[in-house]
């Protein structure tokens, strides 16, 4: 009994370590191929992926961004009003949207929409031997399938984040100024004092890495999925969960690093100081 338990724990631990190592080998090969010379047909293969990742994700990112801005305004207003600081509402809404919620929510929505689709597509190709067919034709499936998807995700996640930020800011403004009656000028003045190019760049830089993480995890899960429809389904779920966890962890580290750099360069800048 005890031996079985130890064996089971050992086998699971080994499995996790092997999968982790295998994933980083996959990432390494992808990065090597990414910087190898590409032919025009490989560059052209990125365009349909950009359409899929970028254009078709606009509605979901737009709706999410706009409503999050609106919710932040609704939830914060009462507390800010209680301390007589409702005119500063724009600072907290826009800072939250641009630094954290915009990039993270856009990435999470992409992980659900694109990550699931990538894993399902590549997983189906895997179980129907299309990946093996590519290999036996002398083509590297990573170059043909993974690199265009990675490039599309890395380039367009920041663009979608800008879109999400813009609609979050607009949604927050609409509720704060048009519905809750905060003066327009005071709202934007507070926003301008707390959000500068550093905050915007912080959100965009991490969205670049979020896009990379979503593409690599989703493609890896597709390439290694189990047999049959259940294998593909399980891989899609695992892909979303792993992407989500990666986004949250990356976000924490980016927040920590960005804060340390900011404090080193500018020192503490309270949004309530001015």
């Amino acid at each position: 009994m005890a031996l079985d338990l130890i064996e089971s724990v050992g086998r699971r631990t080994t499995g996790v370590v092997v999968t982790f190592g295998d994933f980083w080998r996959f990432v390494g090969r992808t990065v090597l191929i990414l910087f190898a010379p590409l032919r025009m047909r490989h560059v052209r293969a990125v365009l349909p992926q950009m359409y899929e990742v970028g254009v078709r994700s606009v509605p979901v990112v737009a709706v999410t961004g706009a409503f999050i801005g609106m919710v932040l305004a609704v939830e914060s207003f009462t507390q800010f009003k209680a301390i007589g600081q409702e005119s500063r509402l724009g600072s907290i809404i826009n800072l939250s949207v641009v630094k954290q919620i915009g990039p993270v929510l856009a990435a999470v929505m992409l992980a659900g929409r694109i990550g699931g689709a990538l894993t399902a597509e590549l997983g189906t190709m895997n179980v129907t031997e299309q990946l093996d067919a590519l290999r036996v034709m002398g083509s590297d499936p990573i170059r043909v399938l993974v690199v265009p998807r990675l490039v599309a995700c890395v380039l367009l996640t920041p663009v979608l984040t800008i879109y999400s930020d813009f609609l979050g800011v607009t949604g927050g403004w609409f509720i704060s100024v048009q519905t809750l009656g905060i003066p327009d000028e005071a709202y934007w003045l507070a926003s301008a004092r707390s959000v500068d190019i550093w905050e915007i760049n912080e959100g965009l830089v991490k969205s670049f890495f979020f896009g990379g993480a979503i593409a690599l995890i989703s493609c890896y899960k597709g390439f290694t999925c189990g047999a049959g429809a259940s294998g593909v389904g399980r891989a899609c779920t695992e892909s979303f969960v792993a992407s989500f966890i990666a986004i949250i962890i990356l976000n924490f580290f980016f927040a920590q690093v960005a804060k340390d750099w900011y404090l080193t360069i500018y020192g503490v800048q309270s949004i309530f100081a001015q």
Partner: protein, 277 residues
Amino acid sequence: MPQPLIEFRCVRKRFGRLVVLDGVDLRVLPGQSLVIIGASGSGKSVMLKHIVGLLRPDAGEVYFDGQRIDTQPERRLLVLRQRFGFLFQMGALFDSLTVGENVGFPISEHTTKTPEQVRQVVAHKLRMVGLAGMEAKMPAELSGGQRKRVALARAIALDPEVVLYDEPTTGLDPVRADVINELIVKLKRELNICSIVVTHDMNSALRIADRIAMLHEGRIIFDGTPAEIQSTTNPVVRHFVTGEADASELAALGVEKRNAAGGAMPQRWNLNAEGRP
């Protein structure tokens, strides 16, 4: 003895606790049509995948054209594989591409042909498999037999030296299966390529093969001509060739054997002097 094009030396492969190949030795000569037969799950497809390096042996060696391939890195294998054509059991056509794009894919990938030249080669290959003018169709619009013929056209797109067929007639009705058999024989005759066919369809094996090898419990237990397999005394081979379940297999189903074979092999085929149907 001529230099073999493909050679297995004491190849062993296991998946978990399941031993699939247990010391396989096999030599395939240039231009030869070898059919590997064996029960479902006996490791025939695993053997094929070892030839192109999709799987690597746990022990033993695999050679292609004098080069050991089981130790080659993937980068080198990608180059070597351009000398092979591989027909997958279910075709493995790229379902997001048209028939023409599927057949043209390896040509665009590995040659410097212009799009017009690629179109000409695709049209020629599709004519060879009897599917002229089907370039614009999507794989989903094709029947099972047509999908296999398109996959075959793709497999020969780069004029390979060896074509590997994984269960080419599985899932097809007898007439369509016969079309595929004839196509394999025709391609071998016209292109003089080495063919290795994995199947458990004896009718197909006898029609295609110069030589038949049988894989059983991880080993090659028979290696001979179609005529020799008809007269073999090996009971396992005879049992497979006649295609009759034995008493123990039927007993597991609670069914009694109705017509116990006395020893003479049933004449299921009208064979010519070469032992072919």
